[in-house]
Point group: C2
Chain length 766, copies 2
Amino acid sequence: MEENSIIGKAVPRVDAVEKATGKAIYTDDFKLAGMLIGKIKRSPHPHARILRIDTSRAEKLPGVKAVVTGKDTTGRKFGTIKAYKAIWDELPLCMDKVRYIGDEVAAVAAVDEDTALEALDLIDVEYEELPAVFDPLEAMKPGAPVIHEGFQNNISMQVFLEAGDIEQGFKDSYRVFEDRFENVAVAHSPMEPHTSVASYVNGKVTLWSSTQSPFVVRMALAHQLDLPEAQVRVLKMTVGGGFGGKTDLYALDVCCVLLSQKAGRPVKIALTRQEEFETTRTRHSIIVELKTGVTKDGIILAKQARNILDGGAYTGVGLVAPYLSNLFLTLPYKAPNIKLEATRVYTNKVRGGAMRGYGSPQVIFAADSQMDIIAHELGIDPVELRSRNAITTGYQTSNGLRITSSAFPETIEKSAKGIAWAEKHGKMKKENKGMGMGCSGYIVGTGVAGGTPSNYSAGAIIKLHTDGFATLFTGAVDIGQGSDTVLSMIAAEELGIPLSKVKVVAGDTELTPFDLGQISSRTTFQTGNAVKRAAAEAKAKLLKVVAKNFEISPEDLEAKDERIYVKGSPDKVMAFKDAVFACQAANKGLEVVGNGAFAHELEQTIYTTGRGNYSPAYTFSTAAAEVKVDKETGEVEVLKIHYAHDIGKAINPINVKGQVEGSVQMGMGYALFESLLFDKGRLLNPTLSDYKLALTKDMPEIGVTLVESDDPGAPFGAKGCGEGTVAPVAPSIANAIFDAVGVRIKSLPITPEKILNALKEKEKAG
Amino acid sequence: MEENSIIGKAVPRVDAVEKATGKAIYTDDFKLAGMLIGKIKRSPHPHARILRIDTSRAEKLPGVKAVVTGKDTTGRKFGTIKAYKAIWDELPLCMDKVRYIGDEVAAVAAVDEDTALEALDLIDVEYEELPAVFDPLEAMKPGAPVIHEGFQNNISMQVFLEAGDIEQGFKDSYRVFEDRFENVAVAHSPMEPHTSVASYVNGKVTLWSSTQSPFVVRMALAHQLDLPEAQVRVLKMTVGGGFGGKTDLYALDVCCVLLSQKAGRPVKIALTRQEEFETTRTRHSIIVELKTGVTKDGIILAKQARNILDGGAYTGVGLVAPYLSNLFLTLPYKAPNIKLEATRVYTNKVRGGAMRGYGSPQVIFAADSQMDIIAHELGIDPVELRSRNAITTGYQTSNGLRITSSAFPETIEKSAKGIAWAEKHGKMKKENKGMGMGCSGYIVGTGVAGGTPSNYSAGAIIKLHTDGFATLFTGAVDIGQGSDTVLSMIAAEELGIPLSKVKVVAGDTELTPFDLGQISSRTTFQTGNAVKRAAAEAKAKLLKVVAKNFEISPEDLEAKDERIYVKGSPDKVMAFKDAVFACQAANKGLEVVGNGAFAHELEQTIYTTGRGNYSPAYTFSTAAAEVKVDKETGEVEVLKIHYAHDIGKAINPINVKGQVEGSVQMGMGYALFESLLFDKGRLLNPTLSDYKLALTKDMPEIGVTLVESDDPGAPFGAKGCGEGTVAPVAPSIANAIFDAVGVRIKSLPITPEKILNALKEKEKAG
């Protein structure tokens, strides 16, 4: 393979200056003439029947231009996108009941924020309080309060994944380990809270929104409003972080539209930070009961799990969580016999949804903590145990995942080397220091694309200009992860022009091809493939004309350095922009356009048995941590993390490293600090001062090694790194704590209190 | 030909509701976070040297964020687009001299309008006044003040158009008529004054502007700023009328960008109505000295003209005016021998530019008044004289115009019939009533497309969606004339879907294909052709897949009523949206995209001799007027106008009729009321109360007959009607006045004063 000009070079992001200088336009920066400010009236009760809503006093307040309640909606419920079994259990404005504290009851639009807030106070809602339930285990018990009619034991979703013969697997095992792990709901905490501006004009809706998936939002919003999709335009402005929390339709979007329709003016709703915490989405807390059978040498023969997910009050995109919590237990280790069960349960709290690593940080904390337990019990070095079980290139898992590339063994090796595992592991106990490892596998998008033709999940259109520039139209959304840069680099490399000459139009259902959006780490692989194909098609049109000019075959040409060269004859050359001009001239002015798409080869078995290949490729990650525990206070200091990630190919290494470092920070927060604290359904810490994130001052020295496995189906070999990199961090820290002071904490976050209690227990046990 | 489903039906405009309900977003409705208000400091002198500009006091005023002068510009001059001989004589902010009252000297951006206006007052400019000249004849005299260095006798442009043998033509003539006609500068008076918002971020410029030609503006703005075109994005919002006054780059656009760059914030400049009158563009006043030789039967043998255009202080798009003033004298009558000369002269006034009918209302007033004189002198009925000389289908004019379709004779016949010419002409003198006719020919765009490949002037891209909608991307601009509707109808007809299912993305250099813009009545013909071709290509992709499905040939299929039918087998059918889905599915998800373009077959002789075919087709128009003159007051009452126009094919008849009625109103204003009055270069009537337009109350009964000549090169046969329809109105009224009271007024506007004076003269002459 020839050397790339752009791919693999560390370059600043295309939007870096705009963002750093405050020029980037976020949704909240956007104003339209006559725009009103919308606010939402929310339930103060975790569970109650609505007896009466009186908006008359609010409507009379000067400056109030519209008040809407459930009566103004179509009455349709909404939920997640088409392809999955639909559970549509949410009304944009509650009509019968409220199901958590923060549930939407009414909305107002007024000339300014103060007036809108005053109007909220003037809306009278009469409730009949109902018994509520906050714990999923309690919710499943007979006689528990019924949150949604028709869901027995409050179970919204139960899925199974079986392969091989689990009974035989355990029978053949030398030892079987059974452990129970717990964690808590945590919040995405993006810099930018959810914000939307809606304009309803003559049956047509435009929604400017801080969304990760304009096309998914359009699909749901059009259904909700009973409009054809083409009458609904959803576009993203600059998005200030999403982490999965901005993937689906929100009630605020629907309210925004209804208010605009009623007021006849554009309306903006921007959530406050408190609303962001109380009413958006969380990472599901999952109870993981895990049973693993291994040979004497530690080879996994059987893996059984029972995952219980706290779903909160509604489903939405949370529908996918039980599938994924099973799936991620089939990676990154070989397991010939599996039996996995996941149950998502309604409770009267803010719901769980997609969050970075979706389903994986919870179950990987369990699985990779247990790997450490197994290693300890069998007397095998934890690194060696992982290597023995590691999934490698060409492997097909028992549930049908086809591993087209895996540098997983190398990530184990590199991360171990990065913290000098061989030299130091187990040898620092005197200083209360220890080392631990965590590993995970992840996907680059799913095989499920929302009912599109051929399971089409990404399109790209590239137009070439006679001044040597190219415009890329993509439905993908850069939420801060850098996809505009990566997709531009792919286009630039394929076309042989500099990155500065690619312009991006992104994330607008009116202007750009369909894209499933910024979910499940799919953009570089899936949209990247579409972009590469679109660029290749546009380039082929140029080469055809240039070849005719030089009277040779297009195969003898290459595009590089803004020129089309005859291979081997560097003097035979046409400038790229001249080639565009010539191509247009040869086609009576027709613009030079390349069209590309990415579609899945979907296995229908996924829908029936749950088995089958799920993603077009898989990534693998290993974190190795060194920690120090203060036995007096129980406090953990993470000294160093060395992270090795199988990226396939790093399109922009500096960007990938940034993604990995961000994952380490988020993973550390999950491991040690973050927790949404509820008291009878009321969130106690809905502020950034009370909700503890891992801050810069908490961060250790981080080493990052990018391992390039060069996936054959990927654009330039690149897989992805957005999400899978979060999960290994928590188990690496938990395992390091065990190595340091000998206590095994099986619930997150690992607070000083838990460590002190465990140390006491251990002392007692002697 | 099969009957059309949509073409030819009178339908409401696609943007009617938005506009009627005040929801359409004009540039002035558009706000960005932190946006500043810009204002321009202008010259109070018609001609002066700038000695010193001191902005320091303005800069210190709280709330002022940027002040720019000529020093902040690149120093580059600008003018009209590439293809023509370039005359770049304008600086965005004057550095050496000012050349008219209103010339731009400095600009400020402040937090609000009051502060910006106050800042203007704080800018000190020291001038040395220079002698000024306001009349083009005076300006051409030796010793006249020099307005621009290097232009002898202040002549900016002189062009000639000769064909046949003019001397022989006059020799062979039975009689030769010589007349001199005059007119005055008039103003476009769009409802929406010029407004732009600029945002400069990191070397990239976005300009939201009320422009007719985003691509033309981008070309000039990029050059002006010394940026690659791709770094400059120009897009139009809803445009509230243009009439030619919004076709080129304005100093205000450049100021807006420079202020944004300096302030680091977006800046809006909206001209006041006074600035709109004083500083934009006018219809050139033209002195037309016309000499025509005819046979005894009134057949034109020779036509000679000398046109002197008052150019004002700069050139810009005014460069084209002398060419066009010659060209329009070669239509609508046959003239085997011609010798035409046009001279554009600088004066110290606001400049002349493009205005509806560009060059034609002035010269057609002359030519068709003279036709009336000839008819009268030779004793031939004016209608008969016109018919005898009328250009017909298949004719090639002496200067090389190829007339692919002409229903001109029919327009003469229909308009005459419409006001009962045969019955009433010449028979109402007792009541001081009379009848007159006016005729003109026009173009559907030029053969000159700005240096694009293959003289490409319009592209179109159409995307089909699986919900049965289509999105049309076009660079064309609907400035109120209805092109969004017409282009949508063309796409809908070709695709066989309803108009409501076509969405338009228009006039954005970043998103849409190149289009020369809303100039020279080209959109329906040129962009319409591109749209039809794009739709045909997209449809062909569908038919190919459907044909495979039915195992027949694509030729056996047709698209109609949202279905793809097998011809003759109405049961073999696939829904349009299903065909889109199937087409995508058959191509691994690739979006169904059609790409179309319109390019001219350009004759290079146009650039050298001025001869050659200029436009891909020609339209013809006849107005017949009945007026009553009050001999006491000199006031003219227009009683009736019947208008017949060779539209080729009326895509949307109600829209075409609206265009014609608007032309009659504008033509009446030109004939009777409008006049920009100057005193030593100072405009005396820069308000809508002092500048007299033809109002609704002034309007007569208007009859419109659309004649369809079905041009072979046009989309569905449609030519155009935006501009050519203005010119015949003034001569029809002047000729009717002559018919009524026997006085011939050869200068516009025909004021009561001129009529009274002429009546007095006539009485004297006895």
